[in-house]
Each structure stands twice: as structure tokens, then as C-alpha cells.
Symmetry: C2
């Protein structure tokens, strides 16, 4: 018997992962930038990113010390393409999301990382 796959919904059922997806819609970001906005431990953010990546929502691009994460431009799963292109429908722009978006616009990697 095959098992019903719920990993897309499970991935989307954590508020911090939804915040990350919305943030990455503005621009690609490294782990420490995301950590700065979410105010979570870097290890926690890294874990969220690995889940989003494994399921196919985002991709990573290494750049020296940094790992830049961005929305997957070509997901192989149509359901993931659909969610990504209709993110605003699924996640309303409430205060948290709006505030994240403002912070993302302002983040300066040289400020936030290394300090």
C-alpha cells in the first residue's frame, strides 16, 4: 500500500517557514539575514531552510562563506509551483509579514552577519 504524501502541507504548516517563503519572495537571503529577522537560533533557521529545500520550495546557491536561499524558479512538482505563484492567496499580508518585508528591504548583510 502506498502512503499518502502530506509533506507539502506539513512544510506549509509552520508559521516560520511561511514567513521565510514570503521573505524570499522579496529577495534571496542568507541564513544569518533570515535569522536576524525571525529572531530564532541559526540552527533552527537552517533546519527550516533544509526542509523547504528538500521539499522543493527553495534552492540554495553557495557564495563563499554564505549560502543564499531563493524561491525555486522551476519546481518539478506542479503543486509547489502553484503554491509559490499564489502565495499571497494562501498567506494574507498580516502585520508580521508586512513587518518582515520591511526588515528584509533594510537588512545589510555586512551589518547583520559577523557584526
Amino acid at each position: 500500500m502506498t502512503k499518502i504524501d502530506t509533506k507539502i502541507f506539513k512544510t506549509l504548516s509552520d508559521p516560520n517557514r511561511l514567513r521565510i517563503l514570503k521573505m524570499l519572495q522579496s529577495k534571496s537571503l542568507c541564513v544569518c539575514e533570515i535569522t536576524d529577522v525571525l529572531k530564532l537560533a541559526a540552527s533552527t533557521v537552517s533546519k527550516h531552510l533544509s526542509i523547504l529545500r528538500e521539499v522543493g520550495f527553495i534552492i540554495e546557491q553557495k557564495d563563499g562563506k554564505w549560502v543564499n536561499y531563493m524561491i525555486n524558479p522551476r519546481p518539478s512538482d506542479a503543486r509547489i509551483s502553484s503554491v509559490i505563484s499564489t502565495l499571497d492567496f494562501w498567506i494574507s499580508d498580516d502585520q508580521v509579514i508586512l513587518s518582515d518585508k520591511q526588515k528584509v528591504q533594510k537588512v545589510d548583510r555586512s551589518e547583520v552577519c559577523s557584526r
Copy 2:
């Protein structure tokens, strides 16, 4: 600060709740009929149904001893309408789902309930 609402995704991230939604797409069913197909305790099925109902995916209609559950024909949340009308897109008809569908067509309430 408002909290990001993940209850739709959380509701959809349990395989047994997805099976119930798919079954109810074939026809409305009572708790014991669903219990018979899923092979779970009646209390567990009842709990899944209450979650699906509270979030808005299904409605209930009392009929004597029985409580019939069915897909909500007029959800107030557009996201729920969307999920319901595109269920086949989100949940592929794998063996479990197909087998459930066959069982649902055959279930006879007077057989399954009371025995």
C-alpha cells in the same frame, strides 16, 4: 502582533483527514462508515471530523442516531473553497485513495454500523 494562521495547512497535513475529504467527495458518510474504512477507533475519527468541521472543510447533518458528514458546499474562506474544488490536484489518486473509494461505494450502513 497578529499570528500567522496555519490551521488550513495543519488540517491538510494528516493523511487520514485527506482520506476523509476524498471519501466525502464520493458521498456523505456517518462516523461509523468512515471508521470502518479507515480502521481507526471511532473516537479518533470523530476527532478528525471535528477538526475538519471547525476549520470549515465539512458540515454535519444530524439524522436520528447518526451524524452525516459532507463536504461544505459554501465555505466562507476562499482558500477552503479552492482546496475543495481542486482536491484531486493536491491529493493524487494513489492506491489507498482508490481502495477507499471502492469501499465507500460498497459500504452499507446497516451492515457496518451496529453489526
